[in-house]
Symmetry: C2
Subunit: 108 residues, 2 copies
Amino acid sequence: MDENQTLENFVLELRRGALILAVMSQLQSEQYGYSLMKTLADNGLEIDQGTLYPLLRRLEAQGLLVSSWRIDDPRPRRYYTLNDNGKRLLSKLKEEWKKLTNTIDNLL
Amino acid sequence: MDENQTLENFVLELRRGALILAVMSQLQSEQYGYSLMKTLADNGLEIDQGTLYPLLRRLEAQGLLVSSWRIDDPRPRRYYTLNDNGKRLLSKLKEEWKKLTNTIDNLL
């Protein structure tokens, strides 16, 4: 099997879980899709629309965020923000992240 | 949706990618399944056999580790260890992990 492909797949798996945490962390204040993508990219976490929007829909379906259209110039935008459930879950997820990174750093 | 179930799923997703890294990190020296599970559990990373063995088979199929049976007392054991490809990939994966944890820590 191609070695770079293997690395690529592993990196994707590594990032997949952390992505939820990254996205939720930025939705503590209101964001629209593009602003969210840009903030993440500026921090070195590239996420394409085909990954981001399904994730946002999933979080909304799970009752963790609210979204609404707003008439912005030049076009309407859908804004997303965590609700109280989402904020509570984010805070638990942060604790788990800290535990996990400590564990992995110990193992490495 | 049940909130604890949602948290549980997110935590599993968070751990899934890191698990490959954790397992590979421990296979720099030779281990058998149970010793590997125990080392991970002692570091706070519980992994069941139904997750570990498929992962080991996957790593072997990808040409990243070698394994062989040895006649131990009281029973034969299969020992696993990274080969050179696996070590090279582990070192790249570690770099990616460092980048990812820096990114997430900045975002949080």
